[in-house]
């Protein structure tokens, strides 16, 4: 409702500006036709505004081009492979061993970017199938069906290239995030995420996005972007077809849904990607031309990396709300170094700034040479919607609900004292801490028994120093997976400062399951 109203307002505004001051898209297209058009990339626009001011920039510049090239998992391609003889109504299908889904009738298939090969999972997936097809390579299709009176065929094996497809359209339901977070990892182990490989104990970080070159960031109120906006998509002309899923404009995390003809695209701007132990994705190149219809847009397209902030987020905590460790701007991120907890570490980009620049430049040249005309959206992207979390019907239990108080000892204590405590408290695990309560190790009843058998008297000789731990806000499921993985029966619960706040044992978890 709101954005319909907004569209009316926009149209009125455009009508007014047609008469008086301001620029219209029709005027801009006329200038493209006569070759009289002034186009700058977003980076050039920032320099111009800085040197000559917004007013001059608005007068001189008609269009600002943007660009981004990054992993966009919610991507895929719809293909129609034509009817076989006898015909088949495909139930399940695989291309190069990647399962593709069958969202409609008979022979329409959707190649999802994150679907992984059954023979080469994590290395080859839907994103690579799309890239291979665009590159002109031949792929193998296999399909099965139950067979019907009108579609009797039950099995299909064939090869295809893009020329054999009736339609081959990129249909991405969430692309081009306005900005994204900077990821790091507090855990004691390497984790592999969709934000790349994160080394233990905050030893590196990663980020994504082109910052000041990002398409949505240059028109943050979506004055010119919406259904029907013509864009650069994968090296060809494509369209915005609406807001993307999880579009979250109020938090400056806008997204778009896009469509484009893959047959015209280039593998230079569409690439499969593989994230170790996470899965496959599709790298998509997108560029949006921002028509400078008013002075406000001239000012907005002058936004600099220094002004775009994002959160540094701890991906070591596998929860929906991950801990935020601070804020950082894109100028710092692009410098390659970021400071976390007072320590400066290197930060990697997962998206390509080089390609983002090339996209903005290419789009600029298309407009200058008259091969790309701008289009006004039929309806702009919503500016007031929110992205809600999932409604869950099953209750998730977290470690703090199940853990109990830990029995504690100090490194310099006598083994005998520890043995007595094990008996008096009737426990199997004692957590070793320093004076401040920070974890230093673990001792089990088995360790004490072995010490007696081997005649050891010093506690320090029998402590297990490298201890796997959990946190109060970790799910019990994650904690129990950790125990199973490392063949252990208890995990000390520690807070962010490594102070011991409890203990969770496999017994606690069994009790929970038995309830």
């Amino acid at each position: 409702m709101f954005h319909t109203l907004r569209t009316v307002l926009e149209l009125t505004k455009m009508a007014i500006s047609e008469k008086g001051n301001g620029r219209t898209i029709a005027e801009i297209n006329q200038k493209i036709k006569t070759g009289d058009i002034q186009v700058l990339t977003a980076e050039e626009m920032k320099n111009l505004v800085e040197s000559s001011g917004v007013e001059v920039a608005y007068k001189e510049v008609d269009v600002v081009t943007t660009g981004t090239f990054g992993a966009m998992c919610s991507s895929g391609a719809i293909i129609n492979i034509g009817h076989s003889d006898p015909p088949i109504k495909i139930q399940r299908a695989w291309i190069n061993d990647v399962e593709v889904s069958h969202p409609g009738a008979a022979v329409d298939l959707y190649i999802g970017a994150t679907m992984m090969s059954e023979t080469e999972p994590f290395e080859y997936g839907g994103g690579h199938v799309i890239e291979d097809l665009i590159a002109g390579k031949e792929v193998e299709l296999r399909a099965t069906s139950q067979g019907t009176d009108c579609y009797p065929r039950t099995k299909l094996d064939t090869t295809l290239t893009k020329d054999d497809l009736n339609q081959f359209y990129l249909l991405n339901f969430r692309n081009c995030y306005q900005r994204y977070v900077c990821a790091t990892n507090s855990r004691d182990e390497i984790i592999y995420t969709y934000m790349g490989k994160l080394l233990p104990r905050f030893r590196n970080a990663s980020y994504s996005g082109a910052g000041a070159l990002n398409p949505l960031m240059n028109d943050p109120d979506y004055e010119t972007i919406g259904v029907g906006t013509r864009i650069f998509l994968g090296g060809a002309q494509g369209y915005v077809i609406g807001e993307g899923t999880q579009h979250d404009p109020t938090n400056r995390f806008g997204t778009m849904m896009v469509r484009g003809d893959c047959k015209k695209m280039s593998p230079e701007f569409i690439s499969g990607g593989a994230f170790t132990k996470y899965g496959t994705s599709l790298y998509v190149g997108i560029g949006i031309p921002i028509p400078i219809l008013n002075e406000g847009l001239a000012k907005k397209t002058a936004l600099r990396d220094e002004e775009i902030f994002t959160d540094i987020v701890d991906y070591g905590v596998p929860r929906r709300e991950r801990p935020k460790l601070g804020k950082v701007n894109y100028a710092t991120l692009k410098s390659g170094e970021v400071t976390i907890n007072g320590r400066t570490i290197k930060v990697s980009s997962l998206s390509s700034l080089k390609k983002a620049r090339k996209i903005a430049e290419t789009l600029k040249s298309w407009i200058e040479n008259g091969s790309f005309y701008l289009s006004a959206p039929a309806e702009t992207l919503p500016t007031d919607s929110v992205c809600n979390p999932m409604k869950q019907t099953d209750e998730i239990t977290f470690v703090n609900r199940v853990a109990h108080e830990a029995v504690i000892c100090r490194v310099d204590e006598d083994i005998k004292a520890v043995a007595q405590r094990i008996i008096s408290k009737s426990v199997n695990h004692v957590v070793v801490t320093d004076k401040g309560g920070e974890i230093k190790g673990m001792v089990t009843s088995w360790d004490v028994t072995r010490a007696v058998a081997e005649g050891k008297s010093k506690l320090a000789d029998i402590i297990t120093k490298k201890v796997f731990t959990t946190r109060p806000d970790e799910s019990v499921e994650a904690a129990s997976r950790k125990m199973a993985q490392h063949h252990i029966s208890a995990l000390p619960v520690v807070d962010r400062d490594k102070k011991v706040v409890g203990l969770i044992t496999s017994e606690d978890i069994s009790k929970l399951r038995g309830r």
Partner: protein, 140 residues
């Protein structure tokens, strides 16, 4: 910084027990930096860094003592596959990966330490980085 060169020393089982590296250093009086070493009683590979101006002398000294000397390629980057994201950049412990002016990713093969590390390899979403394994008895 003085220019340095990297060479790979390959010791057979017959000579691996000898303190050859130490002998060369003492005889020539030239400092040698050991970058990585994989050695056992069957033989071993030692990657060393030497002052470029003394390269010839050092190579000769090792060869005279029966050591196979190679100029190793530790890493192979497929620049056709690489799309210059830089996911590898922050993982490199020796700062061998950087960006040039147009934001292309650049590998300094002379700084890379190769197979004992390899942190960047599985972080590359384009799968463009390969370690060149320095297998012993490789006829290459």
């Amino acid at each position: 910084m003085k220019k340095v060169d990297r060479i790979l020393l390959r010791f057979s089982g017959a000579i691996v027990e000898e303190p050859i590296t130490a002998q060369v250093i003492l005889e020539l009086g030239i400092p040698i930096r050991i970058v990585t070493a994989t050695v056992n009683s069957l033989g071993g590979d030692i990657l060393i860094e030497v002052p470029a101006i003394h390269l010839k002398k050092i190579v000769k000294a090792f060869r005279d003592k029966g050591v196979i000397v190679k100029f190793p390629k530790l890493i192979e980057v497929d620049y056709d596959k690489c799309f210059d994201c830089g996911a590898c950049y922050a993982l490199c412990p020796v700062d061998a990966i950087s960006f040039d002016e147009d934001h292309s990713v650049v590998f300094d093969e002379k700084t890379c330490i190769g197979s004992p590390c390899g942190l960047c390899v599985d972080a590359c979403p384009a799968r463009a980085i390969k370690l060149v394994e320095q297998h012993r008895n490789n006829p290459k």
